[in-house]
């Protein structure tokens, strides 16, 4: 708890709020631009259309955002050569855990705020049908779960390499692969960590080639995908933590 509190203390003046505000602004502008281009027929899908596209935007925006947050948190230690000071007062394992917990809380706050913002947008726009509170909650949880899996990967890289270019290039590649993977065969999507933003979407689209009609429908993420997501997360966490703990400073 003490270490976690210190993580927030250390991130003073690191413009973390600005990074989160930028993520929200980009998603808002992106979605705003998308909805203004939709006709009345499309808009009747309201909440489903919103959540479907939000998952797509997440796949593009969040990998880089998560990489940036992990990098902001880890870079300050490399920059000030603080590992050799910190590790005389705390174990490397607890330092790793504190950084991961910091990321979990920041991402949770960001994604809850994001969901609240888009719920408000939907209500103001008067989307048809009942407000899907439960599905919005689940969507937030899924976004957070996938982001945490990606965060574990990014934190591992940011801790391993003092030069943050490696971690940020991975984040940029993730953003690219995240959206591209939606075109991959289903088995292959599951091999792309950033592809889980789309894979775990609560809304699926069915486009009928004959009638040329698009239909959206609710679905629950398959248990196997949840298990695979947890597996990816566990692998990134164990490998990242082991490499960090074993590293001599």
């Amino acid at each position: 708890m003490k270490l976690l509190r210190l993580e927030f203390y250390k991130c003073r003046r690191r413009k973390i709020v600005l990074v989160c505000a930028a993520v929200l602004a980009v998603e808002l502008v992106w979605m705003g631009a998308f909805f203004t281009r939709q006709d009345a027929e499309d808009l009747k899908w309201g909440w489903m259309l919103l959540l479907y596209n939000l998952a797509t935007v997440d796949a593009i925006i969040l990998p880089l955002s998560v990489a940036t947050l992990a990098s902001r948190s880890c870079e300050l230690e490399h920059k000030g050569s603080t590992w050799k000071l910190l590790e005389t007062m705390a174990s490397p394992g607890s330092l790793y855990a504190a950084k991961l917990a910091w990321g979990a809380l920041v991402l949770a706050a960001l994604l809850v705020l994001r969901s609240g913002l888009f719920l408000a947008v939907g209500i103001v726009q008067g989307f048809q049908g009942e407000i899907p509170w439960g599905r919005f909650g689940l969507f937030t949880l899924i976004s957070w779960g996938v982001s945490m899996m990606v965060y574990a990967l990014q934190q591992g890289l940011s801790l391993r390499f003092a030069n943050q270019a490696a971690a940020l290039v991975c984040g940029i590649s993730g953003s690219f692969l995240g959206i591209l993977s939606m075109l991959f065969p289903p088995a292959l999507v599951r091999c792309v960590p950033w592809g889980y933003y789309g894979l775990m979407s609560l809304v699926f689209m069915d486009w009928n080639q004959v009638t040329r009609v698009t239909r959206f429908y609710w679905r629950w993420p398959p248990v196997t995908d949840v298990a695979l997501l947890s597996l990816w997360g566990a692998v990134f966490l164990i490998v990242g933590r082991t490499l960090f703990v074993r590293k001599e400073v």
């Binding site: 003046r13 000030g80 590992w83 050799k84 000071l85 910190l86 590790e87 005389t88 007062m89 001599e248």
Partner: protein, 303 residues
């Protein structure tokens, strides 16, 4: 009592043994100078004592307790350290940096003000550390090490990169600590003159091996006096001196003799003159600490 003891301490990187079978004994209350040329293994040794680097072999006792992975942090609660360059968060102020260490060490908040005063940084406590000079950063590092008033302070090259005034200031601070706070200070350096001015005990390592460990007095004791004699014919003079059972050896045009009393020296010069040899130089010399360091490490005193 020894506050640090290492037994057969080794560290191997690849095929190179960077620290080889080191047996250090640091007496409590001393300023222990850890001397060696760059790359001799000083930082690696200090990091092993702090548990930042895992030894390949050997054992370490700090404050009378064997240090292992389990008890490392509890032992280190009474140890302050400043290893290589200072550790700091540039975007935070000096005081904020110390607050992080204070929270982690669980020591009273008032210690922050006190250590800032000790290192004479109290006037700069609200300034971001990124805007500090190197000397100020080094003093902040020392303040962080002092924060819990530890029994043992490990300082690795604390004067590196400082200007002469900064070096003098840091030296005064370090020399002050055992008397003022009862701390034992281990300070490493590659500068013999620096250790000579600060330490009362010295260890010298060369390529990871301990080549000397004793009091500074004992090191000075090695710098024995001798006489250097130059005559019109050193070869003949040498034979004559050998006849008189005076040990001597020739070095760079001089005959090196042990210190002789005035009476014997006078007899000797008369004896050489009686044998038609002119004494052109008779000097009393002392082997400098630099010479001893060079002998022990095979390198110049400051490399």
């Amino acid at each position: 009592m020894n506050i640090i003891e290492t037994y057969d301490l080794c560290k191997q990187y690849g095929n190179a043994l960077r620290v080889a079978h080191l047996d250090l004994s640091v007496p409590e209350g001393s300023v222990y100078g850890f001397l060696g040329p760059n790359g001799a293994g000083k930082s690696t040794t200090l990091k092993m004592i702090l548990g930042l680097v895992r030894p390949t072999a050997g054992s370490i006792r700090v404050l009378g307790k064997g240090v292992d992975r389990k008890n490392r942090l509890s032992v280190l609660r009474q140890v302050g350290s400043l290893i290589e360059s200072p550790s700091y968060y540039g975007h935070l102020t000096g005081e904020e940096n110390l607050r992080i260490v204070q929270t982690l060490r669980g020591v009273p908040e008032k210690n922050i003000r006190e250590v800032l005063q000790i290192v004479r940084l109290d006037g700069q406590r609200g300034k971001k550390v990124a805007h500090y000079s190197l000397g100020m950063k080094q003093r902040l590092g020392l303040a962080a090490a002092l924060l819990g008033y530890p029994k043992l302070l490990i300082l690795d090259e604390p004067t590196n990169g400082l200007d002469p005034a900064g070096i003098q200031e840091m030296r005064e601070l370090i020399c002050d600590l055992p008397g003022r706070f009862g701390m034992t200070v281990v300070v490493s350096s590659h500068l013999l003159s620096e250790i000579d001015q600060m330490a009362d005990h010295v260890a010298i390592i060369r390529e990871g091996e301990l080549v000397f460990q004793d009091t500074l007095e004992a090191l000075h004791g090695r710098s024995r006096h001798h006489l250097a004699l130059r005559t019109t014919n050193n070869a003949v003079a040498r034979n004559l001196l050998m006849e008189k059972s005076v040990p001597c050896q020739e070095e760079e045009g001089y005959l090196i003799l042990p210190i002789l009393s005035d009476e014997i020296a006078a007899q000797l010069t008369r004896f050489l003159a009686d044998n038609r040899l002119g004494v052109v130089r008779l000097e009393e010399r002392q082997k400098s600490l630099e010479d001893i360091f060079l002998e022990l490490t095979g390198k110049a005193a400051s490399l």
